[in-house]
Amino acid sequence: MLKSLLSDDLPKSRWLALLLVAILIGLAVAPFLFPGAKSLNVAARICVFIVLAASFDLLLGYTGIVSFAHTMFFGIGAYGVAIALTRMGPGWDAVAVGVGAGLVLAIALAVLIGLFSLRLRTIFFAMITLAVASAFAILASQLSDLTGGEDGLNYRLPVALRPSFKLFEGFNGRLLDYYIVFFVSLALLLGMLRIVNSPFGSVLMAIRENPFRAEAIGYRTVVYRTLASCIAAAAAALAGALLALWSAQASPDTTLSFDIMVDILLMVVIGGMGTMYGAVVGAVLLVLAQNYLQALLGDRWLLWLGLAFILCVYFFPTGIVGRLRRR
């Protein structure tokens, strides 16, 4: 049962298993264990970034695709929901339209980028994704009628997700919103775990290991790479939609910026590339560090964080998960 839920991809390390269980329980009971708006916000962001980092790892760690356009798909998902809620008013129909439109646009763009450029060498492909993502970010800030420009959009959530809404005593709309984010994120993570452990996932790893040989034994790598890009883009867009549904705002800074791209790259590398659990651990660590390290270490926190990353990558080149699994 558990084996099937985790798609045979067990943690294979007692410490990693403990860590994952702690993260799962921590996030599941976060609203009660750590009351307060800030900690709930951190917990929700952890959920969203787990999905975002895991979907990026599906590209980078599993398929060996280096893409800098991942935040673009995240932004598309977030803006889809934000624009729909702004235009159509705070209803569930708007949420559905926003999520649907975001998904369609994200997947369409992923197919286009994939078919046009996945035949290129890794470095050229990375450059193209960088160019497309930059162009998209500029476009988003220029189309200010639609996107609210640099300021972004602030909009009202459906009634059921507002603090004033009471589902029952002690369970308001914010909690409902949090648990939507939590369960959808969990489902997306388990879904991606299944995909990387499927026959299709095994081809992705073959392509990462030796694309030349993968072609020679009969796999058309461009098809598999494009499909992997679409899946990752769709998951990133859904993560963006969750963030928009949680934070009631979408702006270039919070969804499209290159800083986020660097963050998810670090999450994947620090957690351990090529394992979904690495993305989980990396996302938890980084979001916690971003939110609490400043209070702990003062103004130079970024410096300390940078130093910690360098040491981490130097001593654990296979990431935290790789290190835990080795013993």
Binding site: S4, D8, N197, P199, E209, N210, E215, A216, R220
Partner: protein
């Protein structure tokens, strides 16, 4: 039937394979010999689609496949083992072979089932590993296998493709004396089935003599001799080609 017609590839001005016309019948084993640099590996690359021909054609059962990409040719029945070992380094030996089995199964686009539940693929992969006597190394990561075992794994991957045409590029090169018979026995067993086409590049002349139905000699990209083993091995042109080229025969 596999045929090449005036098959040519130029790198800059240099023709590495130069107008080679040759046909290979099912049920026969043809050895392709020639000194190092003669163009044997390049000829294989043109047939299996790793390199695009400058001119000439490759036909498989009458169909012109010159313009097809390598994966298509493989799925049409062309199987290739590489001279330089060319594996999936961080995957287990079993997974290397299972991936090759999976190609024909039609399961490769299945995103939602666990790969481990497709027992029939894993079982077949284990059989191919057993055929090259690597059963006890199934879970070893390919990159950490000794060289001889990597060569055998290379052959197991080719077997797992279950092709109609087997192309072996120096399959025993660098192998220990103990491992060589394993691979030669496999080639002999494929030949015995009678319906497969086998192309073999091999330097060990005793091996070539005993296994081949026919020998083709390449020299500086050109086909210079083609005939029964006894005729070709003793011909002047082969002596000249080998003595003129590298003395590694």
């Amino acid at each position: 039937m596999l045929e090449t017609d005036s098959l040519t590839i130029r790198f800059g001005g240099h023709a590495a394979v130069d107008g080679v016309s040759c046909a290979f019948k099912p049920g026969t084993l043809t050895s392709i010999v020639g000194p190092n640099g003669a163009g044997k590996t390049t000829y294989f690359n043109l047939i299996s689609g790793q390199l695009p021909a400058t001119s000439g054609t490759v036909r498989l059962n009458g169909q012109d496949i010159t313009a097809l990409a390598a994966p298509r040719r493989t799925r049409l029945g062309l199987g290739r083992a590489f001279q330089l070992t060319n594996l999936f380094p961080n995957l287990s030996a079993l997974e290397n072979v299972r991936l090759a089995v999976q190609v024909k199964s039609g399961k490769a686009l299945d995103l939602f089932s666990r790969a481990s539940t497709h027992r029939e693929l894993t079982d077949r992969a284990r059989e191919h590993l057993a055929a090259v006597s690597l059963s006890d190394r199934a879970d070893t990561v390919a990159a950490t296998l000794p060289h001889g075992d990597q060569r055998k794994l290379e052959v197991a991957i080719l077997l797992a493709l279950e092709p109609d045409i087997f192309m072996f590029d120096e399959p025993t090169a660098g192998m220990s004396i103990d491992d060589v018979p394993t691979v030669l026995d496999i080639i002999a067993a494929i030949k015995k089935r009678g319906d497969k086409t086998i192309l073999l590049v091999e330097h060990k002349m005793d091996v070539v003599r005993s296994l081949s139905d026919r020998i083709v000699v390449l020299h500086q990209g050109k086909l210079v001799a083609d005939g029964l083993p006894a005729e070709v091995i003793n011909s002047d042109i082969v002596r000249e080609a080998y003595l003129g080229g590298a003395a590694d025969g």
